[in-house]
Symmetry: C2
Subunit: 256 residues, 2 copies
């Protein structure tokens, strides 16, 4: 049974792409088959795996077109057991082209159910908006993973995001749940970061993972080498926290 | 003659709101009348000035409705000479409601030209997407101010953004220019940050301001007190860089 997880937060720059890329990488150490769909026209998750613009001709936009098989857009990554459907700016045409279609919210759900049922996990990286791309992803998935920075503006946006998820659950996807909230770019030396962490834990209680991803420059260097940080520098605090997060993720899934 | 400036970048978390709030504050020291329009449904710029949710009943969504005068949505801020039109989640209905209207790209331009011509500068903070809100802002303005983090993903998105701006210029707004590119969250001790700064300067040359905003925890603390960092802690490196940026901005405008 394929489990589909959307990585979303309308606040920008909170670590959605970094978490999708590195959690999927850390999870590939267990014998599961994982697909990462890059659904952001910026194509950052694709860059995070070193996929050049020339290799993105078949992408997450082309899986909606009738003339190709969606499976043709799947590529291997350097990580065994982890596959990716890359993205480029073609995707920004998606929202405009489908806005008048029937069933426009269900397009991605139908593709995933019909074409990708051989994967154990499908992760979807989404852009920082609650537009039609992210809505398609929230309708297609079983649950939402919400990265959030230990910053004031990011904390403020969480309540709004959960309301939107609830609305999608009521109108389009009864089974939609919250996979969890991941605190990112934490800095133990900063009062603000410590304060935000304690506020988020108080408000959202067991939804929040125990694992916190620290701010670590190696994490932000890795994309410039086209590698997940686990492959760029396995021993650094950033990588180790994603390994820890994967363990906690599996624990919550009762798989360990 | 009112000059309208959009603060935009589809990459999330690069410092759009922080730059809009603090540059507008630093500019208010010259005898000009400045309006900041918060056009992001997250309403972060409004939070940055301490505007509670209860005080946002009249907002940047209501200026498009026929039953109120847009000027009624203008509020004073703590900063003399600086006014704001706040935002809340009402704004997320905007894109859906106007998508089938005739002149949907020109709505904001018409409101600003008809209602806000007594301001010397109008700054518009936009969400991290190139959807209808940001497009309205790019059509309504004279130029675009582009904040960008000293990070790899942010650098990668710049070329795409400039292409989009060019397309808007050709199809909707002949006078649209680039006000400048502002490097934010720079860290002199990080090779990545230094490398990104030199790449961006090499590619975009004189478009890039000489002033660089350093990463400074005081900047991210200020919104939790509902104040621009210049009012929260004037002497910190973050505030001083925005004062410097304002000088350079005026210099380029030949106003000093
Ligand atoms: N733990 C970390 N330590 C240091 N830098 C980080 C960390 N996590 C992410 N970053 C950096 O912060 C920036 C924002 O992260 P990322 O792009 O993953 O966020 P996002 O939510 O996907 O952004 P967007 O909203 O644009 O999609 C990136 O430049 C990334 O490299
Ligand atoms: N110079 C700085 N030093 C430290 N933190 C900063 C700095 N500038 C911005 N920040 C913090 O980084 C985060 C992102 O900044 P901000 O919200 O202004 O970006 P944005 O581009 O407006 O984001 P969005 O894409 O969500 O609109 C915020 O939490 C902000 O407080
Ligand atoms: Mg991203
Ligand atoms: Mg913002």
């Amino acid at each position: 049974m394929t489990k589909v997880i959307t990585v979303a937060n309308q606040k920008g720059g909170v670590g959605k792409t970094t978490t999708a890329v590195n959690l999927a990488t850390a999870l590939s150490t267990i014998p599961k088959k994982i697909l990462l769909i890059d659904l952001d026209p910026q194509g950052n998750a694709s860059t995070g795996f070193g996929i050049s613009p020339a290799k993105r001709k078949l992408n997450s936009y082309s899986i909606f077109l009738n003339n190709i098989s969606p499976r043709d857009a799947i590529q291997e990554t350097e990580v065994p057991g982890l596959y990716i459907i890359p993205a480029n700016n073609d995707l920004s045409a998606f929202a405009v082209e489908i806005s008048n279609m029937e069933n426009r919210e269900y397009l991605l759900r139908d593709v995933i159910q019909n074409e990708f049922s051989d994967f154990d996990y499908v992760f979807i990286d989404t852009p920082p908006t609650l537009g039609l791309l992210t809505i398609n992803s929230l309708v297609a998935c079983n649950s939402v993973l919400i990265p959030t920075q230990c910053e004031f503006y990011a904390m403020e946006g969480l309540a709004q995001l959960l309301k939107t998820i609830q609305r999608i659950q009521q109108n389009f996807n009864k089974q939609l749940g919250i996979q969890g909230i991941v605190l990112t770019m934490a800095d133990k030396r900063s009062n603000l970061s410590v304060h935000v962490e304690s506020e988020v834990r108080e408000h959202f209680k067991e939804l929040v993972y125990g694992t916190v991803v620290p701010r670590n420059v190696k994490v932000s260097e890795a994309p410039s080498f086209g590698k997940p940080v686990l492959l760029y520098n396995f021993k650094c605090p950033g990588s180790q926290s994603y390994v820890q997060l994967a363990k906690e993720f599996l624990d919550r899934e009762r798989l360990i």
